[in-house]
Amino acid sequence: MSVVAAEVSKWAVRNVSFELPPGSVTAVVGANGSGKSTLLNVLAGHLPPESGHTAVAGRVAYVPQHKPMYKGFKVADVLEFGRRMNTVWDNERADEWLTRFKVPRRLQIGDLSGGQRTHVTLALALGSRPDVLLLDEPLSELDPLARRKVVGELLTEVSDKSMTLIFSTHVVAEIGGVADRLLLLADGRLLVDGDTDELLEQHVLYTGPRVSESPVEGPVVLAKHSKSQSSYLVRSGGTQIAEPWTARYVTLEELVVAHLERAA
């Protein structure tokens, strides 16, 4: 395993346990205040957990949500900082990232836009060749086009360098086709922990005449009733169903929203 959390509790986070294999891409999803940042802080080693423990194989790089960086540093100083403060430093990798996203080299960090600062912090994190990369809301300050590009580049880095990536977000649309693992947090508890493809195969939405009980076996995630219709989102594993019921797979976004709605 590359990352292990065992019954971690800290502030909002309560009793969270999971294990992530090396080379995986994990999305930590949850509403505001559900404990995403706290969990990442604990994993990065910046906060000691109240109980439980975390373990990370290898070196960690962490980019917090507010993208902190010394305002007086020039972009070149950040690279120099990374080179001097790390035992392993891949200047080319960091430099390429800055070139790719056209970050102006002559400016100080304080004069950069939010998105450009994000790229500088990402370059510092990637340049240190981490085994585990933790990103807290990495895309929050980027425009829609840059988001896609950054996600694509990050995935390339993951597969090229066998890095484990964990990122948090509350924009569910960002994780479709990106994350192969989903950690869904609600109110500090781990609601869903699983492979995204498997989760999508398991969850089926059944729609049909109004009934008070689920038409198929399996745990009901969410049931909705209108005057004449009922719809059940069931973790049935793909059970077939006869007329007049219809069944369809849900999107990742629907799945996440349904789980969050049930928890609320």
């Binding site: 395993m1 080693g45 910046h46």
Partner: protein, 313 residues
Amino acid sequence: MNTFVWLTWRQHRWTILATASLALLAAFTLVSTEGGKVGSMMMAGFYGLLAQLLFGGVISMFWGAPLIARELEERTYFVAWGQDVTPTKWLRGKMLVLGPLAVLLGALVGLGDGFGGPQESWGMFEASPFVQGGYAIFGLALGVFIGLLSRHVVTAMAATLVFYTLARVLPAVLLRDHYLPSKRDIARWESTPVVPHRGLEIGNGFVGADLRPVSVPDKCAELPNPNSCMRNTKTAIGTYVDYQPIERLGLFQFIEFIVFVLLAGVLFAVTFRLLRRGGGWKPSRSHRRIDSVAEPAQTVQSTPDTAAAHAEG
């Protein structure tokens, strides 16, 4: 080490340059007005003495207090302590650069004594490279310690000013005169005891027949001049003065230096201990490695939930 020279210079160069020019200016005026040269340099010599009074405080407020407090307040500690360098190494590196520099600049400020006159005197006690160097390193340690506790730059600077002033005043008032037992001069009634030239008088009174100080009885204390009463009642056989001779000045200055260096050492020890344990900031890289075989098995055992989830998955 090069790393921290670079980092310290990159982050604190303006503070260092400003303090260094202040120290150079003060040293120049103090040395050039030495020996009582008057004229237009007179006020400059006075300002130089002022710098001597304040220099350690400047180091504590502008070098020490913001050092950790700024990282915490602007949350750049994620950057500083998120690399392979641990917080402890980070602080040690910065202190190894800033500490000697502070002592050096302090010593510079302590070189001259402005209007202290051509001869050394107790009144110019703080005009010593040792004393000023000790104040500087103590100020740095105090500022860093308070900065770590307060986590806020302005609060840290204000608190540092208060505690630095206390730390300067209290030893000066209570300790300094008694670093070594004072010398005593005793004289019988026919003469008066004298403090040697430029000595520092610490106390005086009457001595009894055994040559030890005696207290003044109530009936003598009531009189306007207790001397004749003490003499007539044969309570005392003479008078004494306690003093520190001028020859001890250098030694006392060195003791003051040692005292402040020890205080600084204690503060540094507490700061490093806090940073390592209580502060909540662990080295964020490789803080707990997974042993490729043993650790996961143990983890699965301890968390049935995870194990179950895995079995399902």
